[in-house]
Structures are given as structure tokens and as C-alpha cells.
Point group: C2
Chain length 452, copies 2
């Protein structure tokens, strides 16, 4: 049975048992299920059952399951449950998960919840909330184990045993000096394979890779990916160790950033929420902006066509190829901007300079244009029988492909230079530039070739 | 200084010192640098220097750096270095990295290298190579530490100390029975916080999440992401433990799969290689297929326009709005297919059935169409002054938006049902369907409204 089938089965059984008010049975079927799967099962239930299902869980389980729930479900549960339950759960969440939950809640609810936290917990969360969104400070957890250089291995292991329950990651230990500044890193692997009397100062790695609290989360993700780390330490501007970021958070961030990139390439604004749970007005709002920009820019093309009415009235057949030319231009441009924008995100592009990339794309565009142009010329001649029109279509296609490749690869660089998101801004401008120039080239070529 | 600046500095210095043939100096500057950064610096050097730079490294460093190099650079180095050097390096690579290297090499080189491996190493690699590409079997490493239920904590720790150097991941330990079947999992965290005399059977978790050797690597990635694991065990069909997959490999796979998805959405075939290091004929080959399909499908639209020449000759102004209508249709369709395809990959869509998703998109399309149609009608009237044409444009836009949303969301489901890649197959069909139907609707509406 696959995990998905299992999840569906649990959800179906749970709903059935809850409808029959068989709470004991419902409780029993959840015992062998993983917290992430319980969370998914609860989300799949009708809303009215969320609170009921959640109350089936032991306090310990409830905390784990809660962290896996969608923010919208978390929020609803908070409204619903008795304040004492909530305080216990939020109190025991790890500070980074809590900061992200608070990020999503209305300010009023946040303040009420912050009040209920224990003083140390409140401080940790408030501190995380003080950092800018999307920075290392916001995604780090302060729950780490720090050691001193003069600790022996057995002292270090003793400390780990004592602090393990309050730490998210015990496989990397961080060595700090008297000023709390980070001086080294020791892995639990090193600890268990060293002699009990060895000192941290002897076995630790001094060349520590770290990030600052204001480092962008995408950069943190790339760093962890690059070095195959399980966690990376976070320091403030005085090099004092303030937290760590673990690999599991990084995977979620990579996924979220990828969704944003893909949405941007597809012309949809993203806001971190699940698109399929948004209401439809919100969906329309996230899509209409880009469509409006394109509508406006498309009228440029319309205006140019309008200005050529005399030509089109004489040779109506020219009209038939406009969608082919603008369509191909748009597609070639989209290909170029897709590879360039993805290359920027994965840093694969860094081996070449912008001019080299644009030059490569221009040549690729010429190659593609020649192939497509040849085929289109033959095709157009067979379809319409007018060799002059067919030649105008073919030559235009070459010019449009080159133009589209150049603008598709150059605009992302330009937007990056202007500190705008290349993925979000490039597409409409590429389409417009290529459409307008493409149609102009086509009409002028046609006038020359047809001698009109 | 950022990591990137550091990398660039190392590369520049290294190249300078190698050009001056100051090998001692070159060796010295690499000492404090991380293996991943050394690999990057070597890749940035002119090709002729790769072998020279690589020989600067100690044997131990060389093995680590080698695993970070691009496959093309690895391949070239193998050709270049003396066979003894290579044997040592390949021999010490972890089996999963080795299997992936061999995957990329010509069969002749693979056989020569396999011959040079030690018998156990050869067996491990050959075993990995026997699994299908993109499955758990191919990306797993057999280097894990397994324990028995009757081991005490101190026995387990002793075993870890002994085997740590030959294991990629020592933070999860796997408990097997006499038939090598997986029965439980113990984390190093549990071990160091338990009493020395406790038995594995007492402290281990019995509800182990595992994958099979033929599980798709994307599913493995989602599993690790879902449960925040550092590794997941791999079993064969008889439930015998044969390997583990670690989180660092999963991040690379997620990135590679994402690039494939993004390329597919942008109409570019991907093959796992770095696009910016391909030769340009290869680039053209990877892009021309999709453009040709679109060229052919675009002629359908052309044919329809051609068939309406009588109408267009009478009201030339109708032509000016064709790019706007097909463009908007394409964009709305692209938005719908983007969110649906991404939703399939992240499983965010799973809460809704296909019909619900398509229904939602249809309503969103109607909302968007109404907004855009209203604006387009006003705009068209101001631009052209013909209210009948403006109304035809507006109403067509509503119809096209609904149509585009439906096909944009329905086709990915259809392609998934047919076991074709939704991302790769949907776009051309959506564009064609929407363009052809959109133009037909527009012309017929215009005929009715203009009474022609």
C-alpha cells in the first residue's frame, strides 16, 4: 500500500468513526500513524471536524501534528480550542515554526498568543520576529548546543545528553569563545569517534561556513545544498552565534522559492499560500495584473496592424501568418528567458558573462530561425501559393527568432541589474518587444518583396 | 567577503600561480579552502590546467574534490591522469557517487574502471548500476550501519566508532533481523541520550518509513521532505535492507527535477547537462522540436484566418485584434496549466479532485474574462471607433478566457492519465486549441454582430 493510499484510508476511516461519534475507535486508528500523516488526514476532514479530531491526540502528539498543519487550519484551530490547550501547544512549538505561524496570523491574535508564552519562549519568538522576512534570522532556531574549546569529549557528550530534548539539531555542535563568538564546529560523528579525554579545541573544525542574520534565505539554501550540510550556524554582525538553520527547513524554502519562480514564469503572482485553497476572487486578483499588462502591450501590436490596413486590404492573405510569427517569436523568447532565469537561480550561468550568454542565444536563435524559416516558407507556399508572401514569412521568422533570443536572454540580466525579479518582469516585455518589432519587420519585408 | 567573491579570488590566484608554475604557492592557497570551493575553482580554470591543478591536492582531498566536479570535468580528468591515480580515487568514492559518474561515461571507460576497482567495491557499484535510472536503487548508498535488536547501547556505540569511516550517514542506525529484514530504526540522538545497558529492541522505533529499490526518486524526495528525515532506508522486495538515501542527495534531485519541470514549461528539452556548457547545435536540437510542433499547430489558426478572407477584406480592422485575442488566450491557458502542473508536483492539488480543479479554473477564467473583456471593449472602441467590432472583441475575450482556463487545467490531468509528462505535453495543445477555437468564436461573433 502506498503512503498516499494509507493517508486516504486513514482519513476515510477517521471521518466515518467521528461521524459515528466513536471517539475511542478514532483514537485507536491514529496510534500507529506518523504525525505528518495525521496532519494531512485532519486537513482532509470537513472543517467542523478539525477541532474534534485534534482533541483525540495526546498533548505530545498534538504539538507535533500542529506544526505540520497548514497555516489556515492552525489559525482556525486556535480560534476554536480552549485557550489553555493553545497556550500549551504554542509554548512547545520550536521558535522558528512559531515565528512563521505568527507571521501568518492577524496582529491581534499574535499579541494574545505572545502574552501566553513563558518569558524565555516569548523572548526567542519576539527576537525571530524582529528579523526581516525571508532572511536567515527569520528561519533560524535558537535551539542549538554550544560548547567551549576546553571541554573534553566526555564533557561535551554529557552536555548533549542534558540538552538534547531542547535542541532541534544535535548532530552539529558549535564552539564559542567567552564573547559568544563562533570559533569552531564539531560533529557528533567526530565526538563519538574521538577519545573521551580529547579537547574540543583539538578536534573542532575552525574553518566554519556561517551566514549572517540578514543573509537572504535563498542564499542560505544554496549554501547548504552546495556543501551537503545538515545545518548552518547563524551569527550577528559581531560574529556572535545566535542560531542555526537546519536542512529540513531549507528543503521547504527551496520548494517555496521554486513555486514562486514557476508561478512568475507562468504569469501568476504567488504569496506562499496554497493556490488550490484560495477563494476565486483572490485567484483572479493574482492573475489579472499580468494579463492587464499584456492586454495593454498587445494593443501596440494592434496599433501597428491597424496602421498597415492599406497593405492588408490589398493582400489579405498576409493576415493568415500573423499568429504564426508572433506565436513563434513568443515561444523562442520564452525558451531563452526560461533557461537564463533558471540558470541565474541555480548559478549554472555564472561560468559565462552576460554578453557571452546573449551572444550564444543570438546564434542559437539564428540556427532555430533558419530551420523554422525554411520549413515555414515551403509550408506557406503550399498553403497560399504566393511565393512572395512565403518568402516574407520565412525571412521574418529568422529575424524574429534572433530578436526573440536576444531580448529573451538580455532582459533578465537588465532586470536583475535594476533589482527587479527577472522571472516576474521579463515575459510581458519580451512578448511585446518581439510582437511589435516582428510584425513591423514582416510588413516592411512584405512591402519590399511584393513591391507595394 | 561573500563566498562567491572568495571563490573568484581563489580561482584567479590559482590560475596566476599555475601560469607562473609556482606549484608550491598554488598548493598553499588551497589548504584553507573547502572541497566544494576548490572544485568550483578548478572548473573555472582553462581546460588545460584542470589536470595540473588536480594533482596539487593530497590524495584524501582529491577524492573529496572529485565528487564535487561536473561530470564533464571528471570525465576529462580520467582521460588525462595516470591510471593508477584514477584507480585510487574512483576506488574511494562512495558507491552512489561512483554509480552516477559511471552513468555518464561511455561504456568502454566504465568497463575499464570497473575492472580496476577492488572486488567488494566493484560489487557495490555494479549492484547500484543494475537498478533503473531515477529509482531509489540508483541513488542509494549501501554504506550504512546496521544493528541487531539484542545489541546494547554501548555495543552499538562501539560498532559506530568502528564503522564510522566507511559510512556516509551515522546519525540513523538500522536494526535488522536474522534474515537481514528491516525491523526498526535508532537515531544517534537516541543512543547518546539512552543508558549504556539499554537494548536496541527497547529504544528503537518500529514504525519505519522506507522505500523500495524501484521507488521513483521524486517520490523518495517528497517522502524525505514530508517527514523532515536526514535519510530513508531502502529495502528490496523481500524487505531486506540494501541501502540508504541521504538528504543531501535529495536536495540535488529536487533541484534537477525542478529544472526539468521549468524547462518543460518553457518548451526546452532537458537532459541533466548544464545548458550553458552545451554546444549550440545541441541547444538548437533541444529547442527546435517544440517550436516545430507549435509551427505546425499554428498553421491551423492560419488556415482558419485564411478561410475568413471575405470577412477580413470587408472589415480590415478586425485583423488588428487577432494578436490580442490569441495572446490573452495563450496567457490565461499558461497560467492555469502552470498552477495545475506545479500543484501536481507539490501534491498541493491533491485535496481537490480533477473536476473540482477544472470547475474552479473555469469560474476564475470567467471572472478574468469579464474584467479583461470590459476593459478591452472600451479600449477597442476608443482605438477603432467601431462599437460592433469592440463588442465582438469583448465577448470573444470572455469566451476565450473560459476556454483557455478549462483546457489549461484539464489537459495536464488528461496527459497524466495517459502517462505522458503533463509539463512537456500540455502547452502546444493548449495554445492550439485556444487559438483555433478563439479565432473561430471571434469571426463568427463578428459576422453576427456586424450582420455580414
Amino acid at each position: 500500500m502506498s503512503r498516499r493510499e494509507l493517508r486516504d484510508l486513514v482519513r476515510t476511516q477517521l471521518q466515518m468513526l467521528l461521524e459515528e461519534e466513536d471517539l475511542r475507535g478514532a483514537k485507536a486508528i491514529l496510534v500507529p500513524v506518523q504525525p505528518a500523516d495525521i496532519a494531512e488526514a485532519i486537513e482532509g476532514l470537513p472543517e467542523a471536524m478539525h477541532g474534534l479530531a485534534f482533541r483525540l491526540l495526546s498533548k505530545h502528539e498534538a504539538i507535533e501534528v500542529y506544526e505540520y498543519l497548514d497555516y489556515s487550519v492552525q489559525e482556525r484551530l486556535i480560534e476554536e480550542l480552549r485557550s489553555q490547550d493553545v497556550r500549551d501547544i504554542v509554548d512547545k512549538m520550536s521558535p522558528d515554526d512559531r515565528a512563521r505561524l505568527f507571521d501568518e496570523l492577524p496582529a491581534k491574535v499574535v499579541n494574545r498568543l505572545l502574552e501566553q508564552l513563558s518569558p524565555t519562549e516569548r523572548q526567542a519568538t519576539a527576537q525571530l520576529l524582529g528579523y526581516e522576512a525571508d532572511t536567515a534570522g527569520r528561519i533560524m532556531t535558537p535551539e542549538l548546543i554550544s560548547l567551549k574549546e576546553n571541554f573534553t569529549v566526555s564533557q561535551a557528550l554529557e552536555r548533549i545528553r542534558r540538552l538534547a530534548n531542547a535542541s532541534e539539531m544535535i548532530y552539529y555542535l558549535y564552539v564559542t569563545d567567552g564573547a559568544r563568538q563562533l570559533t569552531g564546529i564539531v560533529s557528533l560523528r567526530q565526538l563519538v569517534t574521538s577519545q573521551p579525554e580529547q579537547l574540543m579545541g583539538e578536534i573542532m573544525t575552525r574553518d566554519v561556513v556561517f551566514v549572517y542574520t540578514d543573509t537572504d534565505q535563498e542564499e542560505v539554501a544554496r549554501l547548504i545544498q552546495r556543501y551537503d550540510f545538515l545545518a548552518v550556524p547563524v551569527v550577528d554582525r559581531e560574529q556572535r552565534l545566535v542560531g542555526i538553520i537546519t536542512v529540513d527547513d531549507i528543503i521547504d524554502i527551496l520548494q517555496q522559492e521554486t513555486t514562486e519562480d514557476i508561478y512568475a514564469l507562468g504569469g501568476v503572482q504567488s504569496g506562499g499560500d496554497n493556490y488550490f485553497q484560495m477563494n476565486l476572487l483572490e485567484v483572479a486578483r493574482k492573475r489579472v495584473v499580468w494579463l492587464l499588462i499584456l492586454l495593454v502591450t498587445n494593443t501596440f501590436t494592434g496599433t501597428i496592424i491597424k496602421s498597415q490596413e492599406d497593405l492588408l486590404a490589398k493582400v489579405v492573405t498576409l493576415t493568415a501568418f500573423i499568429p504564426l510569427l508572433t506565436g513563434t517569436g513568443g515561444n523562442v523568447g520564452a525558451q531563452s528567458s526560461t533557461v537564463v532565469i533558471r540558470g541565474m537561480n541555480t548559478e549554472e550561468i555564472d561560468a559565462l558573462g552576460p554578453l557571452q550568454v546573449i551572444g550564444r542565444e543570438a546564434i542559437a536563435g539564428a540556427l532555430l530561425g533558419t530551420m523554422l524559416g525554411t520549413i515555414a516558407t515551403i509550408w506557406a507556399f503550399f498553403l497560399q501559393g504566393q511565393i512572395e508572401v512565403a518568402i516574407a514569412v520565412g525571412i521574418s521568422l529568422v529575424a524574429i527568432s534572433v530578436l526573440a533570443s536576444i531580448s529573451g536572454s538580455a532582459l533578465p540580466f537588465l532586470f536583475r541589474l535594476l533589482r527587479l525579479d527577472p522571472a516576474l518582469m521579463s515575459a510581458p516585455f519580451i512578448t511585446t518587444a518581439v510582437d511589435v518589432l516582428g510584425v513591423l519587420i514582416y510588413f516592411n519585408l512584405a512591402r519590399v518583396i511584393l513591391k507595394l
